[in-house]
Symmetry: C2
Subunit: 493 residues, 2 copies
């Protein structure tokens, strides 16, 4: 709190890092690439988890838990899967430490070498499908709709808090179905669940789409995704849902007796979102004063700060504050009364601004006299004085929180609209990417080759082929070859 | 469901293993010592987590998340701590796989060796205290009251589902305080929280006590615990709460500026319960027909099974069932209507008995005629016919669930009372331990030496020195030396 945040316009990346740390969301740990999620950050993640978990259960899924470790041979069973994850695996090779011969330090006991190395799960398809083999015999066992909340490890070389860390928290859904059609429907359903969560709770508009082959999950036949736009004009993949075909069923020999008496491999899906969503939430809405949290995910939706001299004033304000809190809580609003005497009101104002509390109520002696409060909105940084004899404060605040949620969403929506540009030539593509960034809607010839070259030259990738892509004849901006519709390019996190 | 469970009286251990698997609670995974927690088992664990989490938050704690990996040098900083955990550590030594030279397999890349090995956390004191060093400067930063829900790994050689597994799920609280007194109070408070949870939710009576030095946590000055009695006369430690003194603060140099202007090391506690509680829950209450779940932790408190021929009957019963479900849900009762046509009512009855659903409602065509239902209690296996014109079913069921919760608790309480024996000589000790088992309340001279010898000779250990120990002059049952009070011995899980 000693000095202000860096400005977004000056150094967006530094602004993000500093914000994450100063708002007590997360910090780097002594273990390279692993983060500590601090209590305030974790409380936002808990709100996300609760809503997502509810949505998963409403769509018929149950939670379970599978092992942290994957035998190396399991990871290798699906060829493109191991290809995709082998380069970033944490490998357990030993199961014991011992004292060194000189007794001065603790070393890995060479006698405790594992026969087969274990991989710390980067994702759990392999260990889960090896389990499903025993759970699935007949069509009566299908569909199998399971989710797991877990930590996973991918040994990233360059890491950033929440956005890319060696260890991260996530959920991974893994489902098995009797038919291809049903598995595809599940894949699409979960993309829609993610989109609804992003839009309704994170106030984050997303584009639903399908990944190009280059960006597909290792082991999937098709990857659906939701893509969001950050304030610096870079895209962020906020969730993915994979149609696995029969790939893992074949790799792990998972078959079922059909209703008709046959024996077939089952069809699979997997889908996940992670603590990366925290990064998206922070980068999409926050400003140079700190976090801006959508009310639906704010641990405290309202904070009350008393302004007082002496115990007598504090007591009067406290009594009033308690009345207000009781009414707000009865309406389901989370509210915190900060009566610490170790910090001044001005310090507290800055602190709650930094932490993104949607509404701040200030009450001083004059407010008591006049039966008023001062209400400040975090998103717009506007203030108003409210006369409590004229307005039912609890109803007013409930309405105001809804309004804030909507305002934040609309702001992000308008920004994204503004940052989505149709481009029709390679020159235009390069110019727009450099000058403006954002999503570039452009024709593409459908080949990996072209996508690779564009990435090499500009760092932009195809974020997705939008679900609502319009049929439109055109020519690939790079190769000039014919194309039937536009895809979205962007530089991405 | 093909054949009955083994009987407890014949092979308690086999009964437990089979029950865990057949009731769909957990199973062994392809990774040695690691379990898969199946959806039904996990849904019980989720109910436990929800209640515990609420209790932690009500006592002022916040959740956070710390890294899975601990640098080897960190683990070594507290001498007795590393001594306690070194022999059962999973060690990460490499961060990449690659294709073998012949291209036929995937091997660990020798070029990707870590400079310093990482330990998969067996518990997180070291990584957390290294973080607390940066979080704590002044008395204003204290107390720091943090909890984490996480997976941990201890490389156990002999494992049993839920009771002892290489990987398990748990919560670990880690708190820091300005004074010794406050840290001790926190330690005791959390033992009490655990005891309340065990008794009120798990219907499991526990003895609160303090561990002898032998059984103390590696790095603690004092370990408080709750101990429960299983149906085979063996004790089970259900939760521990450690007073860490200044041990970790000194190891990681965590000091704070006192109110008075001094600089002192902080005082610490840590406390945890794990998926082991699932084992305790299963072993304490279940019978030869399957699980018996206390209603407060049962994922489904009531199941409704229709008995019908043809669609018309099913529809009539369904309508009635829906009415009942709506009323029950309005009272907060979880209820499931099993209208599957793939299984017969008899099969379903056995299935829900196996899974421990507290109340089963059966409805057939004659019930429709008479406006009755059949209500069966899982704990007592008793049935009654209820006339719906005479009784408000929802109120009746709510009352009945409370009654079941209490009955299960009382049964376990009476069993434990019966299984707690005062013994006053070494002969009596050995005889009782062999013939009856249970808790043996006996005088002990307070030395580790005596405890070690007793353990060697009988496998019994001191479960705890009960909090409510009465002062009583006596002589150690083994050494004959003077003692001031009785402690509880038992064979234990
Ligand atoms: Zn096969
Ligand atoms: Zn020191």
């Amino acid at each position: 709190m000693s000095k202000g945040l860096p400005k977004r316009s000056e150094d967006y990346s530094l602004w993000y890092n500093e914000l994450v740390k100063r708002a007590d969301l997360a910090e780097n740990s002594p273990v390279r690439g692993c983060m500590v999620i601090k209590p305030y950050g974790y409380s936002i993640w808990e709100k996300m988890q609760a809503e997502l978990d509810r949505m998963f259960k409403e769509t018929g899924h149950q939670n379970a838990y599978f092992p942290l470790f994957i035998p190396k041979s399991y990871l290798s069973k699906e060829a493109s899967h191991v290809e995709g994850f082998a380069k970033e695996c944490a490998v357990v090779t030993h199961y014991r430490l011992k004292n060194s011969d000189d007794g001065k330090s603790v070393i890995v006991d060479p006698d405790a070498k594992l026969e087969e190395e274990l991989i710390v799960r980067p994702t759990s398809e392999t260990v889960i499908w090896s389990t499903y083999k025993n759970w699935i015999q007949s069509y009566r066992d299908l569909p199998l709709l399971v989710n797991q909340w877990a930590n996973v490890v991918r040994w990233e070389m360059r890491t950033r808090l929440f956005l890319r860390t060696a260890e991260f928290l996530w959920q991974e859904g893994h489902t098995a179905h009797a038919s291809k059609q049903e598995a595809i429907e599940e894949t699409v359903q979960m993309m829609n669940v993610y989109a609804k969560f992003a839009e309704d709770f994170m106030a984050l508009p997303v584009v639903k789409g399908v990944k190009s082959e280059n960006e597909r999950f290792a082991g999937a036949e098709n990857t659906y995704c939701i893509e969001a736009m950050m304030q610096d004009g870079k895209a962020l993949q906020a969730g993915t849902s994979h149609f696995l075909g029969q790939n893992f069923a074949k790799a792990f020999d998972v078959k079922f007796a059909t209703k008709e008496g046959g024996l077939e491999h089952v069809w699979g899906t997997s889908w996940g979102v992670s603590t990366r969503l925290m990064g998206a939430l922070i980068m999409a809405h926050s400003d140079d004063n700190g976090l801006v949290l959508p009310p639906k995910l704010a641990p405290n939706q309202v904070v009350i700060v008393p302004i007082y001299r002496g115990d007598e004033e504090l007591e009067k304000i406290s009594n009033k504050a308690k009345e207000i809190m009781a009414k707000l809580r009865a309406k389901g609003v989370t509210v915190h009364f900060d009566n610490r005497d170790t910090h001044k009101p001005g310090w507290k104002f800055a602190e709650y601004e930094l932490k993104g509390v949607p509404l701040r109520i200030a009450m001083g002696p004059r407010d008591l006299e006049n039966n008023t409060i001062e209400l400040a909105r975090r998103d717009t940084l506007t203030k108003e004085t409210i006369n409590l004899s004229e307005i039912e404060l609890d109803d007013y605040i409930v309405k105001k929180l809804d309004e804030i949620q909507e305002t934040i969403y609309n702001k992000a929506y308008n920004f994204r609209t503004e940052m989505t540009t149709e481009v029709n030539s390679w020159d235009e593509f390069q110019e727009m990417l450099e000058k403006k960034g954002g999503f570039l809607s452009a024709h593409w010839d459908g080949t990996s080759e072209t996508e690779d070259k564009i990435k090499e030259l500009t760092k932009a990738t195809i974020r997705c082929i939008p679900i609502d892509q319009k049929e439109e004849d055109g020519n690939c901006i790079f190769s000039g070859k014919p194309s039937k519709g536009r895809v979205l390019f962007a530089k991405a996190y």
